[in-house]
Subunit: 358 residues, 4 copies
């Protein structure tokens, strides 16, 4: 694993846990944590359960005892590490956003396709696909339970930088993070919209930076059209005072609707027909991933999405199968980046932008 | 009163009730209901409490015992009736949308301005301004309790034409209704956004008609920018399966946020700072309009907004004062139409459209 | 109508409105308002729409133009007025609680039964039976949609006397109000439990008065058993800080559950089977009473329950039929009083008390 | 650890995780899992992360490398194991309910007191005390933020045996489980009420068994009085159709109220004064236990309560301190059992029962 901050801690918890709950086809062995500061990395490895430390990620690629590289660094280093790892024959789990630029993302996709031909697999960490309620939502849409999809309205609402005194952490630096709310949380919205409803055809967006001198965007608001004719909105902001991590969305179809809020991630609201929304507590044994957790009503948390992600990735590796459609491929990562980039261009030009993939 | 369908019934209930609850400065006397079919109009007048009937609205303008004309017809006749009534020296209450075209709306504004100089007053029926929770929201924003406004995300969600068998009522006919969801419910969203946050600077919209052959729009989804720098989305749809009359919105400011749902119109959700939303039941004696209704917690309904609207209009007439800023002037009606028209043009051209008033 | 305070105003609004919305079999003519202070009564009559005034309720009974007496006074005068009115051949609508003592209630029931034999009808104002969501709940229970009822947990939560400075209004005086939270709001809970689920078999209660020197109870908490084997709790309190008028209850049956909150009186929460609660917005044309109000999603308020109550009573009078089972008879009023009295006795004796009707 | 079913799995996850997130004063080493069937126990140990297996719990007591015994068996074996372990100088973590009878519980308390004098510590697994929202609730009550407590209404609602075909698992067998809903989930309610508000003074209860022939109670409904004068209700049922694990409660004080639902365990509803409830998402760094988990809004799940429980117990052991008041002592376990027993006696005798501890 490269990187050991917030995301590294969450991934570590998942690597430690997955095999304790699920029957994994492959047994994860947490060999090495990589960080530039040896002392800090050693403390982290001890705390998080990794058995060795490297200070240069390139060393990981030379080690025979390492089969998979989990990339938890800021976005500016994703491309270099991932491409090298794939070329070295290591499976890759890469945190989102895939890369800070579309061209980097394209290079990563090429490396992933080439690696796949050699049985080397890769996945992007769009972990929300593996929230049980969202996996259930996807199944309901795919089964036609919602009929023809008419609308998707989705917003990722946080408020952690409302305070003007908030320090310039790496997520607010353009060279490290690439973009602001758009790439960090907007990319989650785009990926989930694509996962649940299908390709985005066009976007008309307003990107805003509220603090003068801040390098990255604070918020994006957009009207979108999907390839199948549905229309909707996609929003992402770090200025939604009162919301901490509210990834809220609603899908309306001709036969029913679904709604969700990440702050209540064990719940899916489902209107079958026009009769009103029912709160489904997604903790029953027949709900996705829930058979092997706890009894009905005993809720899981945010970190469990990573456990499911790892289960999914290791199963794909063991079966030499694609992580698609339920896991996000590097192609999915690229496409999310392309849609985000289209939003930026639309905001700058004032024109609706058609999304076209390479 | 001209017209006596759903809206006419609601207005009649309000005319009958206002003086029973509030100390009105002028006493309404429900003199005449106007409808083309005499028999039906007479039945309606009897039921709704009007003491005479006319079959030609022009007759109302010649009667000395009529001081105010309440226009509850479809939008295609608003301009003709309102302009004539104002010229005849009758005060006017006109249902929204103000008119079916921007040019009609402009003519109405000119008539209203001319009439105002003669002490003749007019108001557009954007009744949601007079929902107590929304009047409270306006006061909180105006007092700076939310700080600088960053976001408005608002949607009017209905599902009454999800059924493909739904008949082609006048609200679905272009020549009667002018537009579909946009003019009917989208105009409410635009008016309330302007009332709460200020002028809309630009819009980038997607308008959709889902049923082939249907004349009017079924839905609109748009990204908007406000003159003060806030950004957001405005949506309106009759295809939001599971929602009946959910006019939902949220405003985020630097110091707090507000949220609302018309299906729970006695409640305002308020986050003071970043600490989470509090459910304010807007039924206390010190809340707008509530001192003279029922004890705390005894909720009011949708129709009460019309009672408050009438209280507001009659007070303005008695004081020879403008209905602004809390009542919608015909200028407000025109501006809402202009913003809706900008959305249509944006959707057609694919370009973000700056809103410019005449 | 005798009495013209809060309840009198609500009843007046209903008397004025009922015939404007529904096809009443009898046309109400609001002849006389009765109050001891002539000047105040005349002002109230003018405001509320009554065409004459009496200062002695006995005068009402002598007037040939009065067919029905609506009793909105404090509970200490209910029995005397109602018995006299019934004996005088006037139909009676009596606010709850029926009386301040069980023996008064018994006398009223006797008078009602005797009057009924002469075609003179009476009803107690347990208006919540006529909330559309509760009428729907009753229908669902009666149709067996919930299966065998296992539990009823119901509480009426207010906080208007949390403030120790709150003045000693008549509702806090024992000689006027009879009891405190128990008779005022607890009686509503008991009536609705009986209406929805059936007779209460036994109660084990704790009554509390929190302020030393206060004459009436502030709260009651009880465990109850129903004749059909269901068990549950009934609570009523004026010390539930943060609640204004939250009459909340939940019924669990072998096939499903229902839940309700009076502060959101247009909504019924329904779990069909074990799959989670669905929010039913009870505003559809096929929901009780809603066909003639507004379109779906356009909510009604607390006062509308009185309109439905009057519709129900006038229909019973026109048909010379009993107001039961959907309207509360004086027998229902007596039984609610008996259950409340059993709670008082249980609290005093420390024993579970079986409810036995005369 | 003795026992490795549902509770054993949850405890194991917590033992594995605690030291990865928190700076523990003592490092847990998961030495031995104990189960009667060696093969099954070995599989469980491998899966759950225990390094050896015993088939007789008495062997655990003889091993020098074992300092603490975690008892996750059905209630009928708690007393024997716990007393022996404490006498053998092993710290004890015992799942609730403490024991199947009050006399067993008394013996355990005696053993715990004796052991404590020797620096051997023990705790009962009332894990809900360590839900961050409930730890916060306790702090708010203790700081006087709610003023004088007037009411506690609490219910634990499940529906897992609504189906009459549900098999007779050990939780439904009297000799294994001791009691039904009362001991299993009612004990949680009693413990939390005591933890938040203080001692229960008296109870008046109705216990029900709905299926003929079922050995244990299905539900309890009770009115309770607290030593400080608050009154309320305590309910527990496995027949609340539509609820999976809804431990819901509300506390009303003279200055404010709190409400909670275990199915949304990251949230606390707080009414400061009478102004309405605010949803506090208990995931901020300054909320109990949350500094070292994830960023604000990234929710935790049910299993995390055990991590916090272990952190608390190990800290007490390291400091040679009592687990009280925030951890449940065996005395707390005994008192919860005594209150539950009083409910049973009240239900049988029909009398309100004063709770008296030995």
């Amino acid at each position: 694993m490269v990187g050991y901050a917030f995301m590294g801690a969450a991934h570590s918890q998942a690597w430690r846990t997955a095999g304790r709950v699920f029957d994994l086809p492959l047994r994860p062995d947490m060999r090495a944590l990589c960080g530039r500061n040896r002392e800090a990395a050693e403390q982290a490895a001890e705390r998080l359960g990794w058995s060795s430390v490297e200070t240069d990620w390139k060393q990981l690629l030379t080690r025979d005892d390492i089969d998979l590289v989990d990339i938890c660094t800021p976005g500016d280093s994703h491309a270099e590490i991932a491409v090298a790892a794939l070329e070295a024959g290591k499976h890759v789990l890469c945190e989102k956003p895939l890369a800070n630029t579309v061209s980097e993302a394209e290079a990563m996709v090429a490396a992933a396709e080439s690696a796949a031909a050699r049985g080397v697999h890769s996945m992007v960490g769009f972990n929300y696909r593996r929230v049980p309620a969202l996996a259930l939502a996807r199944a309901l849409v795919a089964e036609g339970r919602l009929g023809t999809i008419r609308h998707v309205r989705a917003a990722y609402l946080q408020d952690w930088i409302v305070d003007p005194e908030f320090p310039l952490v790496w997520r607010l630096q353009k060279d490290r993070a690439g973009s602001g709310a758009l790439g960090d949380i907007g990319a989650h919205v785009v990926d989930l919209a694509r996962y649940l409803v299908g390709e985005v055809e066009s976007v008309a967006a307003q990107v805003a930076t509220f603090w003068p001198g801040r390098e990255v965007d604070d918020a994006v608001e957009s009207a979108v059209r999907f390839a199948d004719g549905a229309v909707g909105t996609i929003s992402a902001t770090r200025f939604a005072t009162g919301h901490k991590n509210a990834f809220v969305w609603e899908i309306n179809g001709s036969k029913g609707s679904l709604a969700f809020d990440l702050e209540r991630l064990n719940e899916l609201q489902w209107s079958e027909g026009t009769g009103g929304f029912r709160r489904v507590l997604v903790t029953q044994p027949d709900h996705p991933f829930m058979e092997l957790w706890w009894p009905p009503g005993h809720v899981i948390g945010w970190e469990h999405t990573f456990v499911h992600e790892i289960l999914h990735l290791l199963t794909a590796i063991a079966d030499d199968a694609d992580v698609a459609p339920h896991g996000a491929t590097l192609e999915d990562g690229y496409r999310a980046a392309e849609v985000c980039d289209a939003m930026l261009r639309s905001s700058e030009s004032g024109e609706r932008v058609s999304v076209e993939y390479r």
